[in-house]
């Protein structure tokens, strides 16, 4: 039998919705639990609260959220960033400015990281090839095709196709030995243009290097 006063019952009645959603503090929780345990009318009222809670959650959950909402938000955010971009003030901190620039350049960071990773994946072999191709150069001795050439050294260019089985190490060794470099290529047909020293000796040498070249043609 309930020993609660009407005032106490009223106080507990007011708290029931929050007892149902679990956000009461410990003191109020204990107060409500004690009251529910001894007052049948309050316990019935709490059952009604639980029914209301279940119905409300169901009702709101049934409300469709437009499929387009996220896309529209992204578009609005992009437009917002476009407006903000020129308004970056010089007085802002470096970190903030950098953050803003990175954000502007790479709207989605995971995509940016993926982009950077992809760039590294592509760059590493390219650097390796480049270093192989140019690794035989001594400072001041050989330049790239676009660079200035050291005068007094006879050079020739050869159009070659490497044997598919050959490794870049073999090619590198050959170029080092003959003070040469790759100046163009590969073309769509897999041809490379090499620039080499001592051309007369070289033709014979290259003809003999059947392991490295599929064919060799003078390029100039």
């Amino acid at each position: 039998m309930s020993t609660l006063s009407e005032k106490e019952k009223q106080e507990v009645s007011l708290l029931l919705p929050w007892y149902a959603n679990g956000t009461l503090d410990d003191a109020d929780t204990r107060k409500v639990e004690a009251a529910l345990a001894q007052d049948e009318a309050l316990a019935r009222e709490f059952d009604v609260v639980l029914e209301d809670q279940a119905a409300m959650v169901e009702l709101v959950s049934e409300e469709d959220v437009p499929i387009s909402i996220s896309e529209r938000f992204k578009a609005a955010l992009n437009a917002e960033q476009d407006e903000l971009a020129p308004s970056v003030q010089p007085g802002e901190t470096g970190e903030s400015l950098i953050n803003r620039m990175i954000t502007a350049l790479f709207p989605a960071r995971p995509r940016a990281y993926a982009f950077a990773a992809a760039a590294i994946v592509l760059l590493v072999p390219a650097v390796a090839v480049f270093s192989i191709v140019n690794g035989n150069q001594q400072t001041g001795q050989y330049q790239t095709a676009s660079g200035q050439e050291e005068t007094g050294i006879a050079k020739t260019r050869m159009l070659v196709k490497f044997n598919p089985e050959v490794t870049w190490s073999d090619i590198d060794a050959f170029l080092k030995e003959n003070r040469g470099q790759v100046v163009k290529g590969p073309t769509a047909d897999g041809l490379y243009e090499l620039e080499l020293e001592k051309a007369e000796e070289l033709v014979e040498k290259m003809d003999a290097e059947v392991g490295i070249f599929e064919f060799v043609l003078p390029a100039n």
Binding site: P17, W18, V65, I69, S70, S96
Partner: protein, 187 residues
């Protein structure tokens, strides 16, 4: 989803982290949309308002003072924006009589009769007849699971008003149920 992580994400947003605003958006936009719908009946307008809330968060994340949960702060921003929108236009109030009339008109429909026997469906129908203030407060408690303090902050009303308004909302709901012949024994 934790309140602490929401706060961390918001700090990132304040530093211009676009991914963080995306995280917060994914976590909360549906709840914000549902909340805004209580103020604007038009779905497209609710969609715009919801997105406006998050654009404002993007612009003014540093204004968050950490006194309430991020989810409550979002709803507070949403309420402010929704009320501004409503003030621009004629307010749309629930018209319980019209809705009840419509329900009575459909009473001959066997499907509707069957639905009326379903208590949950009846409660839901009656909830739709509540005034906006009553429905909003019940939704904040039951659906958004907000505490008394949080509801007070979101609606900008004293805590005692939160309690009494909620009590009246529940009473009104039961009165609507009784009017439909579904007496639940309370109050």
């Amino acid at each position: 989803m934790s309140a602490d992580d929401d706060q961390r994400q918001l700090e990132k947003v304040a530093n211009g982290d676009r991914q963080a605003i995306g995280v917060l958006y994914q976590r909360h936009h549906k709840r914000v949309f549902h909340f805004v719908r209580r103020y604007v009946s038009d779905v497209a307008a609710a969609e715009d308002l919801t997105n406006d809330v998050f654009i404002e968060v993007w612009q003014k994340a540093s204004a968050y003072e950490g006194r309430s949960k991020v989810s409550s702060w979002l709803l507070g921003v949403a309420r402010y924006k929704a009320l501004s929108e409503v003030r621009k236009k004629k307010p749309v109030h629930s018209k319980s009589e019209q809705i009840l009339d419509a329900l009575e008109d459909g009473a001959d429909d066997p499907e509707m009769v069957s639905q009326k026997r379903d208590k949950g469906a009846a409660i839901k129908r009656c909830m739709q007849t509540l005034s906006r203030d009553h429905r909003v407060i019940l939704e904040l408690i039951y659906y958004h699971e907000k505490s008394i303090e949080e509801v007070s902050e979101i609606l900008d009303i004293p805590k005692n008003t939160v309690k009494t308004r909620t009590f009246h909302a529940r009473k009104q709901l039961s009165a609507e149920m009784t009017a439909q012949g579904l007496d639940r024994g309370w109050p």
